[in-house]
Symmetry: C2
Subunit: 208 residues, 2 copies
DNA sequence: ATTATTACCATACAAATGTATGGTATTTAG
DNA sequence: CTAAATACCATACATTTGTATGGTAATAAT
């Protein structure tokens, strides 16, 4: 039995993963049909059977939204790491082939946030170490005191954010570095996002 | 309008959170009824209306499994912290009134794991600091090299685990502490669980 | 030429689901 | 005492959902 998915089956599977991993709940047949513009649930039904026969999903029969992914190996979900941060260096975003780490099922991303891997010891004063994964939310307004990732003159800064009248102060955890004070409309200042958390896997991983 | 939940409503809400955050998908009325031993969906239906009226959930009407939590302020979910670990001290498990932290939606617990807050600097050699949250999975067989939380002679140890023939070696990250070697059937040895991850919130929290 | 696979459609149906309504018993508040 | 809120039960019903069956058209395989 071939495990090879057809183009359409692949698209449907991707949509299932998107919904289950991203939105949190598996779609119904009708919802998938609507998403792909099918006039009929039966079409989806048949595609799902095909995908199931090829081993990519499992269906808890008769239960609504009973689609399970068989990909994930119970405790770890592959999540893309979009790039690397190292204070002082340019922000590296992997262009296409994204690196992935296995995040415990534990760690689920809200729709709009993403992961960056920390490189180097430049953040150790914030107790963030090389190899740690920082969770970045790009859609939140930074509040005073939050740690943000920003790009200033093509280099990454990871500092605590303080907004004053027309200026922004970026303060390092390490008191030896003095605060950076920049104008709100500084042309080369770009806020990447807010560091909402740090995650470190305790698994020993084959590190390149 | 009182936002105060009754005991039963609280239990149902907790079950909803457990299912949604832990299992990933919201339950149906029938499933909740079954879980609580109700003979009738309508009972659950009425409790959900009450809980919704008090503002804790939202229901996408007519949709199956359409229960959404409104608690989480979009990005944070309250999760119980079961206790505190500080290597060398007894394991403190908060008896009843559990402490809670706001975990980003990001951080979802697998069904059987729990959180402990690290106290003191005893784990700093493993780059785990006071205030960090460790994610413990009690249901995994420890593999060699994993960091485990265990209780030995009434004190907590947090060390790397290595199983030899009939002995267990517990090795500290800090090489100054020499390995503990104990018999597999040591009477006062109890494995609490495996540290599967560390999470640190970057929010400044009002710390007691 | 025939068969199998893929990709759709339509229709039908039982079971599951959310919702509505009415009822009873107990507790709480005025 | 009365009214309101709480915690259950039963029944009813329109939709939704998963599933089954049959059909059409296009393509690929034998």
């Amino acid at each position: 039995m071939s495990r090879q998915l057809t183009e359409i089956q692949k698209k449907i599977l991707e949509h299932l993963i998107d919904q289950i991993k991203g939105k949190g709940i598996p779609p119904t047949l009708a919802e998938v049909a609507r998403h792909f513009g099918y006039k009929n649930r039966a079409t989806v039904q048949q595609h799902l059977s095909a995908i199931e026969k090829k081993g990519y999903i499992r269906k808890s029969s008769k239960l609504s939204r009973g689609i399970e992914l068989t990909l994930e190996d119970k405790f770890f979900v592959p999540r893309p790491v979009l790039g690397e941060v190292a204070a002082g260096s340019p922000l590296i975003i992997y262009p296409d082939a994204i690196d992935t780490i296995d995040l415990p099922t534990i760690v689920r991303m809200p729709k709009d946030s993403f992961l960056l891997r920390v490189k180097g010891d430049s953040l150790k004063d914030a107790y963030i170490f090389s190899g740690d994964i920082v969770i970045i939310n790009p859609n939140l307004e930074p509040r005073n005191g939050q740690i943000v990732v920003a790009i200033l003159d093509d280099a990454v800064v990871v500092k605590r954010f303080f907004k004053k009248k027309s200026q922004i102060e970026l303060i390092s955890e390490n008191p030896e570095y003095k605060p950076m004070i920049i104008d709100k409309r500084h042309p080369s200042f770009k806020l990447v996002g807010i560091v909402v958390g740090v995650y470190r896997s305790m698994e020993k991983r084959r590190v390149g």
